[in-house]
Amino acid sequence: MSKTIKIDPVTRIEGHARILLECDDAGKVDEAFFCVNELRGFERILVGMEASTLPQVTARICGVCPTAHHLAAAKALDHAAGVEPPVAARLLREFMYMGHVIHSHALSLFVLAGPDLVFGLNGPAATQNIVGMVEAEPELSKKGLRLRSLGQKINETIGGRGIHPVTAVAGGISFRLTDSQFERLQELTAEAVVLSSELAGRTKKLLFDLFDANPVLLDKLNVPSWYVGTVNGGKVNFYDGELRVIDESGSVVTEFDSRDYRDHIVERAVHTSYAKEVFINHGGGEHMYRVSTLARLNVADGMETPLAQAEFEEFRRNFGRPCHNAVIQMYAKLIELIYACEKAHELINNPALRGETRVPATFRGGRGVAHVEAPRGVLIHDYEIDSKGIVRAANMIIATQQNTAAINKTLKEAANNMLTAGDDEAMLNGLEFVVRCYDPCLACSTHAVGRMDFEVEIRHGGRTIRSLRRK
């Protein structure tokens, strides 16, 4: 008899971020947990599929960073097939990626986090959106939105589609630039460089005003941790390089190839969340670490491009190395946005970009591992592929899961400071702001409802004693 098994993915991706606060007898927060329905089963779904489809299929994991998954998968396939893509393919992939980073960072900075910058933390709710932002800062918003759009156009031209790109394949990229695209993209990247440098001054002013008005931000959100990010010749790189690890004092602990990640990174399932917690395994101990923009700037010695380098130097002078403050993430994002614009402009003006874009790639059985820096941090794809080219096992290390331990620790600090104040609304706002500073990728899981459905549960001795929910 046939049986219909219905897997309803919509319920599993329900946009629901939950914070659990476990209190001790004295009412102090003992442990805090940020819980996400992040795991959507992709590591299982991929098993049995043809490996050549991985760049297209994994791009669908996320509408926020599809290009990161697309390229991590293509690079893992290069590795599995034992091929090195031609120079032009590498440059085109990186160029597509810079488009994606511009898009993602501009959206995050000017549309999603923008209202925090412009109105501070206690602004009226009605202004806390893009419309309020546009009214208050029309020029900044216009430039920010234009940058987002330029990034999207770059990503779309090279990737073949605006959101989920399709062109990167094992052995290169199935795309070549036409003369008119070449010229048009040179104009667009030149515009992006100008826009990003024009935006920098005003954005920094807003940030520093926010810090001045809320000294508690710089004071209370310092959670020391280790950091992991990609460097190429010591400089920040999104597409390729070594993974550098620094400790909480800023000393470089080690650098490794992502192919050896299992020697350095341990994953552990936890009872409070679908996302596994991840630690750096070093010197016989497990160390909490963070990834993403702040981590990249903390591990790097500098930026490859001149405007971004100048900003980087100012950043380091002001905040030191490493900077442990999650709020500074927004500043770091601005510097990376400038870098991505400059890097895109450099890449499109490289004549080697017009060369051969593919080499043949076949799978003879074996493992393929690679990584990129997703906008939100290190993203590793690891596949076991058999001699027929079928995926036998898949593992992914996602940015947000690497930050979970640090988010939990920051929430604990913040909650202990805010619980005593006794104002529920202020506490919800404060905890939500903390979460937003880490910029976790909840977008996939929340787009159906379009809001952060947010709940804080306070427990003692395994019993829920209070539950706070935004009305």
């Binding site: 926020v64 209202p115 029309p138 909840l442 787009h447």
Partner: protein
């Protein structure tokens, strides 16, 4: 000559969210008045601003959940579109009304003067791979007629 843009939004993989796509398919088969451009967008949001180009009339077509019976066709002047209250956590959280307000402030020369939302009330938005429901399917020709009236 008056110009118009018809922007259909939706996802035909998700039950009643396919309403905009269904309307788009019908309109493709009709000869529309000269000066009318028909565009399909998977998502609305601020990407809507990439499509407008100073037309006299903009008609946005999408499935809606305004609390009416499934299959109800709403014709709303853009100012009557309900405001989204909570701040968005992703680009998906920006609606038609917000996009238009941004457009009017930042790109007044590109933003059409007359803007209407033709919203088709749906019932089911959480089933992947399902067709649009019967009342919504029945509302498609009604929506098409309303759009043609707006174009007159």
């Amino acid at each position: 000559m008056a110009t118009a843009l018809i922007l259909c939004i939706g996802n035909d993989l998700v039950a009643d969210d396919g309403a905009g796509k269904a309307v788009h398919a019908c309109l493709e088969k009709i000869t529309l008045p000269a000066g009318t451009r028909l565009v399909f967008l998977g998502l609305g949001g601020i990407d809507l601003l990439e499509e407008i180009n100073g037309e006299d009339l903009l008609v946005v077509v999408d499935a809606v959940q305004l609390g009416a019976a499934a299959g109800t066709v709403h014709i709303l002047d853009w100012q009557s579109i309900p405001v989204r209250q909570p701040r968005p956590v992703s680009g998906h959280g920006i609606g038609v009304r917000e996009a238009i307000e941004v457009g009017r402030r930042l790109y007044p020369e590109k933003t059409p003067q007359r803007i209407f939302l033709v919203g088709i009330e749906g019932a089911c938005f959480d089933q992947l791979g399902q067709a649009i429901s019967e009342p919504v399917a029945a509302a498609i020709p009604v929506a098409v007629r309303e759009i043609l009236l707006l174009l007159r």
